[in-house]
Symmetry: D2
Subunit: 253 residues, 4 copies
């Protein structure tokens, strides 16, 4: 059983490890791409903030793309993301990603079913190429329950610090909960591959989610001497996707 | 048998058809990517000049990338090309392309065998994605004989208008003729696909090569009313790649 | 008096000199920016074609920007042009330029009078900075008469090779001839500076215009041994702007 | 006299005001550029973190440019910064900026005296153009004493979370304290203009510095109803540059 969390101390310890890791990644010219996906209010921004807090601003980029322009809309779907892929020594974190096409675009009909189907077939191939090009790709799905999302969206509406996060789509998130679940299920099922697995993070408890996600990340990308210093992630919180998780309650229905 | 060439008249007729075609492509938002590959002095620049001569400068781009920077070198191989892919209504011509990795890089050892192998496996997948994204991709291999290349490289050295084309690699082209042939053979064989076939152009006779290439292009991309007005390309000059062509003398040994 | 033109021979001679010049410019890392402005059908495209015909495609860029996107429209006016400025060893030719704001935008009310006034005050300062950064900036104004423009626009409409040049604005060019003249006069008067003079080219006779423009260009930018081999431009065809030229008939009224 | 600081509460209050301000800036399409300059360890990163913590990631960019590439080095000095200027609705924060040329480049001889002199003459003109283009430019100089810098650099060396901030130049910062002071004095004196004043922030006390800088920022850029809710900055901490401050001890010698 997992040790109880001592958030401040645990996070500090992990952020030190992240710093040590980035120093080695810069020295060895590694390329790292972390993709964070999840429903509205799943905790992406907060997680990214903790990952990047002490990293080098010149070697770390957080990419949160706005709506595509008309010109971009007419281009190859992956094109506007490709521009931001990491070069040697860089850690790039995508706050949402090409998986928009399998999530919000599907639920809200922002693209055609044919485009969505094509995307879901192409994504594994595209990612395989990045991985063969020695980009270390790690994909996290932050999962929350419907009740937790409702609470967070409520809190957001009343928290004056979170007014910029309030969006027209927030209302839809709860109304279309089922449709989003269905889209998630298909996305996880069809784009979970040996080379680019989806790592699920049960994030109803934000602090536990963050701490365990960072543990998982370090165990995937850091060299051994750093890993040895990091606890294994709690498998009740962070685990590679498997279809059973859609049924057995580990992922919210 | 093919009608004898009346170069000026034939070219004029084809350039009018290209103009008509671009007008329709702009109106319908088509995306076109023409890739021109071939040995040094195979006639790429001259062909491109005739294709683009009367096209709209604002909707046509010729892309001839310089050597990659160190940063680009560390990125995903296709990344620096992806930036230049066509948006709606654009015709893009690549004067050399990602296939550098299967040609000059292979012969001159500018990349590792592992990178070259990976490229040749990835190229068809990459191109399939572009095609599914409704980019009309047409790939031409301009083929010349060893003697013709020697003549052209000689002429280049003494023509004061061609001094900027003279390159350190020119000498190598003849010396390493066999190695370049071998690289071409593998490239054509392994990256010729149903969706993105290689179209070979026997270009020892530049004018016949150009005229027939443009005929072929129009028959591949233009709407019927324009095609009906364009002669079929001479199959002795332009033909889709087939392995036999490496043996039967249609492609230079 | 100027020697009569032998177009083919003269042009060939000048293109050889351009090639020699670019070789030196590449070797010494020079940065060159040629701006071509003029009314519709003034001959910009044809002139650029002859300048760049034998230059190195990897060190020469012709920049013809499309209409700005909404996002670009909201940015600093010069921003979208700045991206294309030459780096060491590059020759960049702008087919129209930031001076759009003093020409078509003024006549057609595509921007506000305040923006136009600000532009015309800023342009000399902006150009001064580029010049101090060792960008060799040469600005040509191609001038044609009203009758010649009418003839060319007519010819354009009926020439099947020029259909892509036909634009909705063509009709306006003749109707608003006076307004365009007035805009030109103000632009030339207020942005002609010692460091970045406007060079006027009387271009009713295209061939004479082209040949003399290239002569002028080489005399401004090429090293002495190349210049010595190039005739001086005919001062009846090419001359630095002076206010009198607006009155004495050298520039079309 | 200024009210004593209640850091947590004061910062929270200001961050709420920043959020309210960004909402209005997005709605009205404002463009904001905040430049932060200062010696090593002056507190730029920490300040930026507090400013941007709750702002919209899609409308806020922090720009910390790496060393220029060779190609960039040959271009117009401002070119690589221009790319990052704000479009409508965007807040951009430059963590160091074009003023590198007047600071580290001068002290470390990374560019020539002629380039530095040219820069310092051009910067006010360049900034004037941005301001006329309705970019709201606010420039902060974070000032610390020599002893405080020594303490912070020491702390940095031993704090495992700050290892990525340790740089080869840190040692130089103390050794060349005088040279950096001289460079700062010239920079402030010559690039402090009515339109783009330097705002000095005495930052030996980080928390007071941050809080007062944000107060100052809001009083400069926010609409009245938000400003009314924000205390005036303490003039002992934040004040527009004036030459006397170099003598009377308000800026570190």
């Amino acid at each position: 059983m997992a040790r109880p969390l001592d958030y401040k101390k645990d996070l500090h310890h992990l952020q030190v490890a992240l710093v040590r890791w980035q120093a080695t990644a810069m020295a060895s010219g590694e390329k790292v791409l972390v993709v964070l996906e999840g429903r509205d209010a799943a905790g992406k921004d907060g997680t990214i903030k903790r990952i990047t807090e002490f990293l080098s601003p010149r070697n770390t980029r957080v990419v949160a793309l706005p709506k595509p322009s008309d010109r971009q809309d007419s281009q190859w779907y992956f094109q506007r993301y490709v521009v931001h892929l990491p070069a040697a020594g860089e850690i790039v974190v995508f706050n949402r990603s090409w998986y928009n096409r399998a999530g919000v675009e599907k639920v809200m009909h922002f693209s055609t079913p044919a485009q969505q189907e094509q995307f879901i077939r192409d994504a594994p191939e595209f990612e395989r190429m990045l991985i063969e090009a020695e980009i270390r790709l790690v994909k996290y799905w932050l999962d929350i329950s419907k009740a937790e999302q409702a609470d967070r969206l409520d809190a957001r509406r009343t928290d004056p610090l979170k007014q910029l996060k309030v969006s027209d789509l927030d209302g839809v998130a709860q109304q279309k909960w089922k449709a989003y679940s269905k889209a998630r299920n298909e996305m996880l099922t069809r784009t979970h591959t040996a080379e680019a697995p989806w790592i699920c993070v049960r994030n109803d408890h934000k602090k536990a989610g963050r701490v365990n996600l960072i543990r998982d990340l370090l165990h995937r990308v850091a060299p051994r001497d750093i890993r040895e210093d990091v606890e294994k992630p709690d498998p009740d919180v962070v685990f590679p996707f498997e279809p059973e998780a859609l049924e057995d309650g580990r992922l919210a229905k």
